[in-house]
Every structure is written in C-alpha cells, then in structure tokens.
C-alpha cells in the first residue's frame, strides 16, 4: 500500500510511473480516515487541495517537471507557517489563525513540488514532551494507544509511524523532534542550529529552535534536510556555510569512525530496556567497523537547569506578541488594552505555557537576571566546550534519546519537573547548537520503540547521517510497523 512506503520508495515509483501522486495522496488520506480518529495525530487535513495539487503534479511530471519532491505529500507540525493553512501552534490563542506567508523551509519544499497535506498536533507552543499539553486534545502512540507519542512534535511522529503520512516536519528546541521519533519508532533529525532557516517557524526559544524532518528512513531525512537547508537572508541566525551532498555521505559501514560514549550518561539507573537496546546498538556499530571510546561531558548534570532557564526566558518574550490585537483569539468584555491582554492570554494560553512564561519572566527580572539568566548562559558555554573537547577524540557521540520508552498518558503530566527530566539527553544538543539524529534501535519489553541518539559537532550532519544509515541498514529496526511486534527482542 502506497502510504506504507518511504519517501524514496514513493519517489522511485513515481519516477517509474508505477503510480501517480494522486494515488499516493489518496492512500494517505484513506489511512487517515481509518486511523486518525483513534490517534488524533492530525489537527486539520485539506484533502481536496492536496488531491488537486497531486493531479497538477502528475500533469507537470508528464511535461518533464523535475521537482525533487514533486507530488509528494508531507505532514507539517502546526507550528510552521504554510500560507493559507491554519497555524494554531496547538493553542487556543491562535484558533482560526491562517498563515499569511510560507516559512522559508516550506517555500523551498514547495519549490520542489511538495504537497502540504495536513497540520499535525503538538504540545502548545512546542512546550512539552508528550503532546499532552495541546489545547486540541492528546495524540496517542500508534504502538500502544494508552501511551504518549512523545512531544512536542508528537503528532508528526505518530502519523509517520502509523503510515498516515509519507514523511513529516517537526521542530526541536530541547528534543521535540528526536524524542517523539524515538517514542514512535521513526527517524528524527535536529540539524545544527542555523542550518535550516527559522523564518516562519513560530518561535519558542530563539537560540535553540530548529526545524527537523521526522521520517521512516535516514535517507528520507537526508533528502528533506538537503532541500530545506542553506542560508536565508530573512533569518540572521542562518549559517552561510555551503551545503554538502548529504546523500553522498550515506555509507553502509563505519570503518574509521570513532564513536564516543559519555561516561556521565551511562552511570547505571538507566531503564533496563533502554540500556539493553542502546548497548546492542553500540555492539552493532562495533561490528560495522566503528571504534568505541569513552568521553566525558562534565556539565551533564547542569544541562536541564540551564535549558529550563534559557528557553522559558526567550519564550516569555517571544510569546508576548499574542495579545489579541492583530490576529488570533481576542477575549470579549475587556475594559482597556491591558485588560484585553490579561483576559486574552489568561483564556488563550494553557497551564504549561503560562508556567514557562512566568518562569522566564522571573529569571529575567531585575535582581534575578544575573543569578539565573546570565549564569545559565555562562554554563551553556561550558556545556558547549564539553562537546568541543569530546569531539577531539571522536566523530560522533552515542546515547539514548530518552531515559525511558514512552510512558502512559497522564503518568507524568501531574508533575512538570518529572517531565522535564526526560529531556536530559536531548537538551544539551540544543544548548550547544549541535546536530542530533534519532534512529530506532529496538523495543521495550512492553513493545514500545526505543531510539538511539547520534550527536555530531556543529555542521556534522554528514557524519551522523552516515552513522545512522549504516546502523539502520544493518539492523532494520526502522522497518517495523505498529501491530507487528511482540515484546522484547524481535
């Protein structure tokens, strides 16, 4: 069935005229019809427009049009602006808001013929690790509907895992692409900070955000990265570095590759399933020719605190624009402008967003700025130095993506701090501006996916894609689909 194919398999079939775009889109829509009521991965689907665009793509292909993604449907996290489509960011405060412009990354995909089929669910304003913070209901993990899909890009990961999409986009500020990919058995890539333009990505934390693909294979992630990446004059933080050929970096062995294991990450007390799967992955890499060394990241312990000071601080300013004046939800019955802001934001924002805005406002406030925000930025530099030192002795670092597999819906939502601790392996990568890839590496005893994280230096996407690809090809974990796996080893 066409919806179960990877992006590359679809492109191949389209290229050989074995199917049409309209067929692919229809297959995806059928799967959505079948499964999404139970999963709730999508917030909106524009079936008619997608089919019309697919038919146009088929015609264009006959006339020789060559777009690298011509007629391929993609699912987009509801935080990225796609002109003419809703962009709620999982929040009531943007209910009814329609994006007036394309994000740069979206424009580049569109230029290659991609079709934006639907908007996926997310934690409100990307703040969360389980998609339980969405104002539009939870998304369920396709592997077990009692469990969370991860977050904040839980919708994108769920629809890819359930073959309700060929591929999807998410955004990653502290792990929001990698962790849901890990919980749902998909591939998730967070590029180097500045590799993909942030113009059109509704900002959560400006110095940490990146757009990332969530896909069924490493090769698919490399292609989407290739199309989206590159400097953008509309984003002053985008890098001028030239783009390599990411596909050319994919090899099936790891000869000459040195992989580092941070001693601080493997201190015991790790969830046994996670430990088992990651250890097996490390062994597999050895068999592929990699050398394994120990490295040290001394400031691992401080990373969560640092992240949960810096991200909310930047978010507290980024979310100030949501005041009901120019767009989005506007509360009724306000007596003056400030009253309007108070009512609109009180009614429009969910509890986790409010929590982080208040936290962020506090750490920036007079008398506390030095002790919290300034100090956190300094520790951030130390974290970055840790990685720079580690990468002197290895090409990439291996770690779990998350300390546990997916947990039950509702299990952590009562204790935000407990939820935050789940980000321990992913936030350092954002803090240091590095690149990180999540690839499936096994299942828990409860048949829930577990992900392996490959972390590379800044602009080290070629290395981590190579490592992820070789591992993926040798082990085949990514080929599994929900409903086919019995617990434990497979």
């Amino acid at each position: 069935m066409l919806n179960t194919l990877t992006l590359h398999e679809v492109l191949e079939k389209l290229g050989r005229r074995e199917c049409r775009s309209a067929d692919v889109v229809q297959a995806v829509l059928d799967a959505i019809c079948q499964k999404d009521e139970g999963l709730h991965g999508y917030l909106t689907v524009d079936a008619e427009t997608a089919l019309a665009q697919a038919r146009e793509a088929d015609v264009a292909r006959e006339s020789g049009a060559k777009g690298r993604l011509l007629g391929v449907p993609l699912a987009i996290k509801d935080v990225l602006n796609v002109k003419g489509q809703p962009c709620t960011c999982g929040s009531k405060i943007l209910k009814g808001y329609v994006a007036p412009y394309d994000a740069t990354a979206i424009a580049r995909l569109r230029a290659e013929g991609a079709i934006f089929l639907g908007r996926t669910n997310m934690d409100e304003f990307a703040m969360g690790s389980s998609t339980e913070n969405s104002a539009y209901g939870i998304t369920r993990n396709p592997w077990n509907p009692e469990y969370v899909p991860g977050g904040s890009s839980g919708g994108s990961a769920a629809v890819v895992a359930a073959d309700e999409a060929i591929a999807a986009l998410g955004s990653d500020t502290g792990g929001s692409v990698r962790q849901p990919a890990s919980f749902c058995g998909c591939v998730g890539l967070k590029p180097t900070y500045g590799r993909i333009s942030r113009y059109g990505l509704t900002a959560y934390a400006s110095s940490l955000d990146q757009i990332g693909p969530i896909t069924k294979s490493v090769r698919d992630a490399a292609l989407l990265l290739q199309v989206m990446a590159g400097q953008d004059p509309a984003d002053s933080s985008s890098l001028p570095s030239p783009l390599p050929d990411y596909a050319a970096a994919l090899k099936t062995d790891l000869k000459g590759v040195v992989l580092g294991l941070p001693r601080e990450y493997f201190v015991g007390g790790l969830n046994p399933d996670v430990e088992r799967c990651v250890q097996e992955a490390i062994d597999a890499c050895r068999r592929l020719g990699a050398e394994i060394v120990e490295v040290s990241l001394p400031h691992t312990r401080e990373a969560i605190d640092t992240y949960y000071i810096i991200a909310p601080a930047e978010a507290s300013a980024n979310l100030s624009r949501f005041d009901g004046v120019r767009y989005g939800f506007r509360a009724a019955g306000a007596e003056d402008p400030i009253d309007l802001y108070k009512k609109t934001r009180a009614q429009g924002f969910g509890p986790e967003v409010k929590r982080r805005i208040i936290l962020g406002t506090y750490v920036l406030s007079s008398g506390y700025y030095d002790a919290f925000y300034l100090r956190a930025q300094k520790v951030r530099t130390l974290i970055r130095h840790d990685f720079e030192a580690a990468f002197k002795s290895c090409h990439a670092i291996l770690s779990p993506v998350a300390p546990t597999p997916a947990y039950k819906i509702g299990e952590n939502s009562a204790d935000p701090l407990q939820m935050y601790l789940g980000d321990v392996f992913t936030v350092p990568v954002n803090l240091a501006g590095l690149c990180g890839l999540s690839v499936p590496c096994g299942f828990s005893s409860g048949s829930l996916p577990i992900g392996l994280q490959v972390v590379g230096p800044a602009l080290g996407e070629e290395a981590i894609l190579r490592i992820g690809y070789a591992y993926e090809q040798a082990t085949g974990w990514g080929g599994r689909r929900p409903g086919t796996v019995q617990g434990g080893r497979s």
Binding site: Y97, G200, T202, S236, S320, L364, Y373
Partner: protein, 475 residues
C-alpha cells in the same frame, strides 16, 4: 530667598532617513494610508524575524562621528520588554549596555557665551506604532512601527530652559547637515523627553528628577521646563518633596501632570536579542564612513567667510539651515558677486519664504535662475529696481529673468545720447529744482534724478543719470 540650581538632561529620538524600516523592507515614507507599509515582521506575526538595516547603522555612526562620539567597535541589540498597544511584539528591539556610540557633545551659544553640552550615548532602536483615538474607539497605525529610531541621550549638563532650547536647535542643525534625518517635528521625525531636577544653591547632590514627556515642539520643551522648574521650586519651598516620576506636558493647559511614579516603573527585563548578530565595526569601515562626513554647520560658516568673502553675519544666516546654504552656494557658483547673492537670499528670498510659509525646497525660483537675475544686475543690463520687478514676475508668472527682460523691454537704457535727451527734458520741466540745486540744496539733485527715472519709466541707468545730471547742473 533660596536660589536653586537646575539640572536638565534631554533624550532625543530621531527617525533616520532610510528607505526601509529598521528590521524589514517596508517603506518608511510618511503620510501613507494606515497599515499600508506593513509586513509580518513589523506587525509581529508568529514566525517573523528581524533583519538589520545596515544603512541605519551607518547613519547612526555618522551621527555619532558628527557629534564627536567614540564608536563602539562591538555593540549589540537587546529586547526591551513591556506591553502597550503601540508595540507589535510587546518588546522593542533596542540597545541596552553596548550602544553604538559613547560620549561626544554639542556646542551652544547663549548671549554670546559658548558652552559644550555633553552627550552620554547614542543607540539604535525601532519606533513604535501610532495610536489614534476617536470618539468611541482607538486605532493603531503600524506604518511607523519598525522605523529606524536613533536615541541621543545628553549628559545632565543643561541648567536653563534656554540652554535646552539651544541644544535642541544645535543638535537638529547638525543632524540635518549630516543628512541622517529631516528632523521635522511635525512629521514626528524628532521627539524629545526631558529630565529635570532642582537643588538649593550650594548643595552638591542632585535633587530628585522628574521625567517629562509629550512635548511636540522645541518651544514646548522650553515652556514645559519653565513650568516644571517653577512647580518643583514651589513644592520644595512649601516643605514638600519631589517624587521621582514621569509627567506629561499638556500644551493646551500649560502644565505637567503625573503619569506614573517610580513604583509603577517598568522592569524592562533587558536581554540580548537572540535573533540578531552583534554589530562588529572594523576600524577600516568606521574610517571609510568618517571620510564621507558632510560639513558641520560651524565648518560651513567658516568656509562661507573664507571662500566667498562674506561677513560673519551673512555666513551665520545662510548656514543656519542646510538647504538654504545649499541654495546660496549653488547660486553663488554661477555669479561673479557672492555678496550680491547673499543679499538677495537673506532679504528677498527668505522674506518670500516667510510670506508664503514655505521652505526653500518649495521655493519656485531655482538657484541658477536667481543667479541669472543677479548677473543681469551685475552686468548693468537692468538696475536694482527693475531686478526686484523681475523677481516678482518670476514668482507670479514663472519664467527666467533674461526672457522676461527681453519680452517686456525692461533692459535699462545705458545709451548716453538717449539719457541725455531725458536729462535735458527733466531740467527743462523742473526749472525750480535746478534753481534750488544751484542755491545749494543737494536734495534737489536726487529729485531731478528721480524725475529722469520717472520719465524713462525706470529704465534709465541710474548711475549714468546721476553723473550726467550732476555734470549738466554744474555747468
């Protein structure tokens, strides 16, 4: 009776003359219909990002160089956080601890005495939107949101409203000369906030200061200061204390009113703007910009005296406004007598501008046309009375001086034979005056010359008439 010393500091906001806004490509043109020069960036839409306008940075640095500042080789932008209807993002991108320029000053002259008023810093930020209030609703026009705004903070060096007024005029003059802004208060190009405190004579420690906002003219600043100083003295004399607060100047009522006190003051929670890279200016780049600095007003005054041989008074009047000086120079270069140009500009041109309430840029006689008129006078084709006539015709009917003189036959008569005829006629018709002159009444000569001018319909060359008349009468 206690005398009080006054301390005044001024914060001046100047809109820079760039084509586009500080962080997006929208036009900065004034007067467009509301919300027509807007985009996702200056409207603060989700996902939008600022991009620095390099020309604004250059103009800011040029201003700093013109004002004698040190340019910071490394400066950055910060977010200034507060909620208000004229704020699209509810934070303003500004500069906090690392502004573009530090130090510098402005020379002023009060009653012949020169003083230098120091400048603390100059930084770059973005302007806010404009709130417009109607009977039952208010509207926000975002055309102004994001326009590049340069903030110049003076040292608290001024001590009287006169000094504040002089500082503003001198500052404006320099900025217009620099070409960085039109400094047109009516269009809101230049705005001013005032900080003022008093202390008893002899006390070293400064008194509590009040901040005053909402003065729309330089005179308004002067009046507000006069009022506020008197108010503060009154409070203190009555045994009260000055509260540190922000007050609003009401020009209609002629009073300041309290807006908010220190307790309500904003905590702006400044932090470095993560969406913009720091501004690192190399010495080479600063030197390149320094080499393009336009002349300062004082330099232009000196040059007018030196190169055109003008008296200091003329130089001062002509250099006061850059556009007037430009006009003068353009005309002077096309004539043989710069002083004549100066006279014409200082009197006839400036008077016309005043009568019509227009600026020199709206003046309908271009400099080269004025030069042409003056040259006709210099070469004695017409006399000065005729010249004024022609000037008036050029204003009402348009056209060039030469053409008008030819068309209306206004060229003065310098043919001695023709003049002699009219002189003889005047002598013949005014025997009494001739008698008076021979009796010693010098005024009679003037009268007779006047008669010749009348008979010749003003066209006779007055100098020739005078010489010839004198000769004839002396015979």
């Amino acid at each position: 009776m206690t005398t009080y010393r006054v301390t005044i500091g001024l914060e001046v906001h100047v809109q820079l003359k760039t084509k586009s806004k500080m962080f997006c490509a929208c036009s900065t043109d004034f007067g467009a219909p509301p919300n027509t020069h807007v985009c996702p960036v200056c409207l603060g839409y989700p996902g939008s990002l600022p991009v620095m306008n390099r020309e604004a940075i250059r103009l800011n640095v040029i201003s700093g160089l013109m004002l004698g500042c040190r340019i910071n080789p490394y400066s950055k932008f910060d977010r200034k956080n507060y909620f208000y209807p004229d704020m699209p993002k509810n934070y303003q991108i500004s500069q906090y601890d690392k502004p573009l320029c530090l130090g510098g000053g402005v020379d002023i002259e009060i009653e012949g005495k020169a003083r230098r008023i120091g400048i603390t810093r100059i930084h770059q930020e973005e302007d806010v939107a404009k709130n417009l209030h109607y009977a039952t609703w208010s509207g926000i026009d975002y055309n102004r949101a994001g326009v590049p705004l340069m903030e110049i903070v003076s040292e608290p060096d001024m001590e009287t409203p006169e000094e504040a007024f002089a500082y503003l005029q001198a500052l404006r003059q320099i900025l217009v000369y620099a070409g960085v802004s039109d400094c047109n208060l009516e269009e809101g190009n230049m705005r001013c906030d005032v900080n003022v405190s008093i202390r008893p004579e002899g006390q070293k420690e400064l008194g509590t200061k009040a901040e005053i906002k909402n003065m729309n003219t330089f005179k308004g600043v002067f009046n507000a200061l006069e009022y506020e100083i008197a108010r503060q003295i009154e409070v203190v004399e009555a045994g009260g204390r000055i509260i540190q607060e922000t007050r609003r100047w009401d020009a209609d009522l002629g009073q300041t009113f309290s807006m908010r006190t220190k307790e309500d003051a904003h905590d702006y929670r400044y932090f470095p703007e993560p969406d913009l890279m720091p501004v690192a200016l190399s010495e080479a780049l600063i030197a390149e910009w320094a080499a393009t600095l336009p002349e300062l007003p004082a330099q232009r005054r000196e040059r007018f005296v030196r190169d055109y041989g003008l008296p200091e008074y003329d130089a001062k009047v002509l250099a006061a406004e850059k556009a007037v000086g430009d006009y003068f120079e353009s005309a002077a270069r096309s004539t043989s007598n710069p002083k004549a140009v100066s006279n014409w500009v200082m009197t006839d041109v400036l008077r016309t501008l005043s009568e019509k309430s227009i600026s020199i840029t709206e003046f309908t006689i271009p400099p080269d046309a004025l030069a042409e008129l003056i040259e006709l006078t210099e070469s004695k084709v017409i006399n000065s009375n005729t010249a004024r006539e022609v000037f008036a015709l050029m204003l009402t009917d348009g056209g060039r001086a030469k053409a008008i003189v030819t068309a209306r036959g206004l060229a003065q008569v310098s043919d001695s034979a023709a003049i002699e005829k009219i002189v003889d006629q005047a002598i013949a018709e005014n025997a009494k005056s001739v008698e008076d002159f021979r009796k010693g009444k010098a005024a009679a000569l003037k009268f007779l010359v006047g008669q010749v001018m009348r008979l010749s319909k003003g066209k006779a060359n007055p100098q020739m008439v005078s010489e010839l008349m004198e000769r004839k009468l002396s015979n």
